[in-house]
């Protein structure tokens, strides 16, 4: 490790400094460490160890069958899902719910967030409402959503949209607040219209904050897929997980959880990719 290495070197250097103080000698090195480094392989190794450990543990009887599914059987579930095509039957409805609900929530959140950022009165009126809405557990509202939006796709979209909405609002108005005020003053000093300033300075300047809010918003949207599919869905990853749970089928439960986890990691990398493209102007 870089850091422990640095420590040893430092200690060694101190000894050198005190011992050879009299004769000419190189200055002791005391930098290094505290760097943001990574090693792609270690992640795979950790996953392999975890999975391998569970597999062996269960086969050897050290871990009860009720505690964890057998990883190889989880893999077999994936194979079956793939072969039978059931994967797509579950994945496509979930993806469309995620896409529609997430998009609705994100767009509404960005819109309201921008208004809050721009207009003091909107801020004063809506921020308390949004803060009050933020810590409300969405599953608690499930029975209401059925009445409000029916048991079809509507209530699923609405639940996911609501979950995405609140963090997006908070992130967006924070981002608008953080837009460099000198840039806005520059726009005014060139006599740009209010609308030009919003379009050309405020919104692009808020983009980094909005995108990092989107990261949180979409993670929540994925988490809410399960809650949304409690509402009368037959197909969908969330429904699949719930059904596996009700049959106490740990293998399928884990398979479903892994799919959501992969979906989350993918979404996050897509946003990372968009950030790298759209925010190329950042250092």
């Amino acid at each position: 490790m870089g850091e422990t290495g640095a420590r040893t070197v430092q200690a060694a250097a101190r000894v050198a400094a005190s011992a050879g103080a009299e004769s000419p000698h190189p200055v002791p090195f005391r930098g290094g460490g505290f760097r943001i480094t990574g090693n792609r392989w270690a992640g795979f190794v950790v996953f392999a160890l975890l999975i391998g450990g569970i597999e062996i543990g269960i086969r050897q009887g050290w871990i009860g069958r009720l505690t964890f599914p057998l990883p190889s059987e989880v893999l077999d579930v994936f194979r079956q899902l793939w072969v039978t095509g059931a994967l797509w039957d579950h994945l496509l409805p979930s993806l469309s719910r995620f896409a529609v609900g997430g998009a609705l929530g994100a767009l509404a959140g960005i819109g309201i967030g921008t208004l809050i950022g721009l207009f003091g009165l909107v801020r004063a009126g809506l921020v308390p409402v949004v803060s009050a809405l933020f810590p409300v557990p969405k599953i608690a509202l499930l029975p209401l959503f059925v009445i409000w939006f029916g048991i079809g796709e509507g209530s699923k979209y609405a639940l996911i949209a609501l979950g995405t909405f609140t963090p997006m609002v908070v992130a967006t108005y924070g981002a608008v607040d953080n837009v460099d005020r000198t840039l806005i003053r520059m726009g005014q000093s060139f006599g740009l219209s209010w609308w030009s300033i919003v379009r050309k300075i405020v919104l692009p300047g808020a983009m980094p904050g909005i995108l990092s809010g989107l990261r949180i918003g979409l993670a929540i949207a994925i988490i809410l897929l399960v809650a949304a599919e409690m509402l009368g869905a037959t197909y969908g990853i969330g429904a699949y997980i719930l059904e596996a749970g009700s049959l106490y089928d740990l293998e399928r439960l884990f398979a479903g959880v892994v799919i959501l986890s992969v979906l989350g990691v993918l979404t996050s990398s897509v946003i990372g990719w968009i950030e790298r493209r759209v925010l190329r102007w950042r250092t």
Partner: protein, 316 residues
């Protein structure tokens, strides 16, 4: 029902349980179509959202156990019970009382030994809560009721000995008790001999449309007759059972091959009331129990809950 225009659209709520077979049969065998109904089945994961969906008008008719939530929705004038379905009946395999292995080893081999122990349920006001309470009252014992929201969580808790007992329909009870972790220690029917387990219900609005509701009930009752005669009376012999299993397998245990699904389907067989007869006495008992527990408003009358004008009633 000639009063109905051909192709009246209707949504029927269902769970993927064998107890919902009459709806599957009526659909598959065209009884709904003959009644002029164009039925679409809407599947649910649990009974509670089904009641709400009836109230919101997303679903027209459904079958489920009476729960506190259903009574409250009836109190708000949203839904009505219009018929009976599954009943406990002495002599027929009904719902089972299960005990965890730990409790069993400590001597809980019969429901009477459950004094001071933990009984699982989904939520307060569910049918599990009702069954457990009535059983405890009959045995003169005291139990703690543990709400675990969902059936899987209850099964998990039971298997690991974190709750001591639970009651559940036979097609779940039998596979769960087949392992070493859970034991069957009694039957619900011993405590609630004529328990009206599930009922047919609809929105108040639909109940006002006599032609529609009669049409629906007419078709479902034909499904009930077919089911009872094939699965319980075995009128068609093994071939009749096989044909019925084939039909039900289209809706239940669809993810398993037929050979593995068949025993579970057959295991789950329970009699469904011929003609959707409604046991009003049992319903009244349930309502009074909910009221005594403070789960529903004490002012609710039986008439707010049921509309007995469509089917034969007993015990009223």
């Amino acid at each position: 029902a000639p009063a109905l225009a051909q192709g009246t659209k209707l949504k029927v709520g269902a769970l993927r349980f064998t107890s919902h077979s009459p709806s599957f049969i009526a659909l598959e065998r065209g009884y709904f179509a003959e009644a002029g109904l164009d039925v679409e089945l809407e599947f649910f994961q649990a009974a509670q959202p089904m009641a709400v969906a009836i109230a919101s008008g997303d679903v027209d008719y459904a079958m489920t156990a009476i729960s506190g939530g259903l009574v409250n929705l009836a109190d708000k004038g949203a839904i009505k019970v219009i018929g009976g379905a599954l009943s406990e009946e002495p002599g027929i395999d009904g719902q089972k009382i299960l005990a965890s292995d730990a409790a069993f080893q400590e001597g809980v081999t019969a429901p009477g030994a459950l004094d001071g122990r933990r009984f699982g349920m989904t939520t307060a006001g569910s049918s599990f809560h009702y069954m457990g309470s009535k059983m405890a009252k009959a045995e003169g014992i005291d139990m703690t009721f543990v709400p675990l929201q969902k059936v899987p969580a209850i099964i998990g808790a039971l298997k690991t000995g974190q709750i001591d007992a639970w009651s559940i329909v036979p097609h779940i009870a039998k596979p769960v008790a087949s392992g070493p972790e859970v034991h069957m220690i009694g039957s619900v029917v011993d405590y609630l001999p004529d328990y009206q387990v599930t009922t047919i219900f609809t929105s108040t609005e639909n109940a006002g449309d006599r032609a529609l509701t009669e049409g629906y009930l007419g078709a479902v009752t034909r499904g009930i007759s077919d089911y009872n005669s094939a699965m319980i009376d075995r009128a068609g012999g093994e071939a009749g059972v096989d044909a019925m299993v084939d039909l039900i397998h289209k809706y239940v245990y669809t993810d398993r091959e037929r050979e593995r699904a068949a025993p579970s389907i057959i295991n789950g067989t329970m009699r469904i009331n011929e003609g959707a007869t409604l046991n009003v006495a049992s319903v009244r008992d349930q309502l009074e129990w909910f009221q005594s527990e403070g789960l529903v408003d004490a002012g609710i009358s039986l008439d707010q809950l049921i509309d007995g004008s469509f089917v034969e009633t007993v015990g009223s």
